[in-house]
Amino acid sequence: MSTLLHIDSISTGYHWNTRNEVILHDNISAQVSNGEMVCMLGPNGAGKSTFMRTILGFEPLHRGQVYFDKKSLTDLSVHALAKKVAVVLTDRIDDNFLSAYEVVSSGRYPYASFTGRLKETDHQHIVEALALVGASALSSRFFRELSDGEKQRVLLARALAQDTDLIFLDEPAAFIDSPGKVELMELLRSLCQQNDKGILITTHDMEPALRFADKLWLFADQRHFQEGSPEQLIRGGSINSFFDTEEVVFNPENRRFEKRIDQNS
């Protein structure tokens, strides 16, 4: 097992200009290795997506450094980074005439020539990726006409076609029904184990995260980032301290939230 992603004491937040910045999280260090599935868990607005965008270089990195395969983010060109990490984002794709196949084929752009013409090997990668996520039947459909679950499969196929060691997914299950969520997580789990990928997911959904992740990164407003296996974090009481509210408490026994029972009664 080798470290694919090494995050070295970075801070994330919003920067309007150099004098006016809002730091959401400070001094975060963490790693992702191959064969590892990591879930960034936290409530909406805790800064998970901003964190992901920062380590992808979409937002400026003001402190610390991020290393992909020991190469620092600042030294990697956009093109070189595209061969290290593929993404599934929450951005809406609203084009009318893109087919599912064309969406997946865009994952091959880092390898395509100047004209963008795809070679036979590229088409093989695309067909394989579609088969791997069980979306082969969708390939000639317009992407816009697919259901949310089908769209996520196609976008995942696109990330697989990009043939990178790392895949980042931003809230991949947000608009999918419960059985679909479990299916997607199972699929990601098997990609991790069988294809030896490193997978990083942001989610606000605790149940699947606790069930499928090898490692959790906990994010919450005004709290320092915490890392550990689901087991460690539950036993150590971190899940409770991060997510309990005045109304509900996390029960480590059945891994569910329950109504807070007054201790005095």
């Binding site: 992808l56 990490v85 593929a86 984002l89 609203d94 009318n96 064309e102 865009s106 100047f114 004209t115």
Partner: protein, 340 residues
Amino acid sequence: MVLWFIGLSLMLAVLFYANLWYGSVLIQWTDIFSVLMGKTSVTDISRVIVLEYRLPQAITALSVGMGLGVAGLLLQTIFRNPLAGPSVLGISSGASLGVAIVILLGTSLQFDWLGSTHILSELGVVFAAFSGALLVLGIILFASGRIANVVSILIIGIMIGYTVSAIVGFLQFMSHAEELHAYVLWGLGSFSNSSSEQSVFLLISMLIVVGIGFVFIKPLNALLMGESYARSVGVNTTRVQRAVIILSGLIIALATAFTGPIAFIGLAVPHLARNLFRSSNHGLLIPSVLLMGSILTLLCNLIAKLPGYDTSLPINAVTSLIGAPIVIWVIVKRGRLKKG
């Protein structure tokens, strides 16, 4: 698909020929062929009409059509906005400002010695329009160097357009009736202002800038999925956006300089092409908007000549009458797609 391209090319050829043939003076269509072949068996008059008037006009219409089609496609993709077109960046307004300064302030600057109708055909107007367009393009590039958000650039472009129109309005208010008339005529657009040398120059330079558009097929296709996805597959989005703005700016500047503002071609043609091929692939769309833009301008030019007067209808009005329904049709059709 190949059949469609053959069909479009044939249509272009037929319309081009029809533009040489149709006009207020009747010329046998076989004679046109002889004139083009340089045979001397035809009378001098038809030779002059075809070679000096109709041919430059057809070449100008064809060049401007392909340019505006491609510019509209490029702008709609990088702004991810179906209503983006040559007019939104304020570049054609910039051209109007240049022309307004030359024509409307002409008297005070002492270069109206040719009379207002002649001013229109003068290279001075072409030069003024081109400079005005480049000025606005420069401002937009300056802004885009500071602002990464492409939507902000779009808004800045529209605001520049309003500002420039206000200045033009001010100039119009202060000018004499004669110059005002000349300026209004320019604003109605015309394919018949260029001499044969000018039209060939326009065609060649348009082919060059439009040809550069083919370089961007891959990044433009990546941008269909949005900036973040494009970036994630290795596209330097900011650089591509800037390059495409410069390129389409040059195309619009060239077109507007020679013909005045031509509405709706750049907006409507990309929609037509997408719906015809049911594709967003730029490898397919760039050549097809090139052909369809030319077809549409040649068709409009033909329609403008329909009444059979000595002078033709204002081309800008004809393109609007044809182009606006196309855009409405596309939007209605799209709405039905979403519902179904």
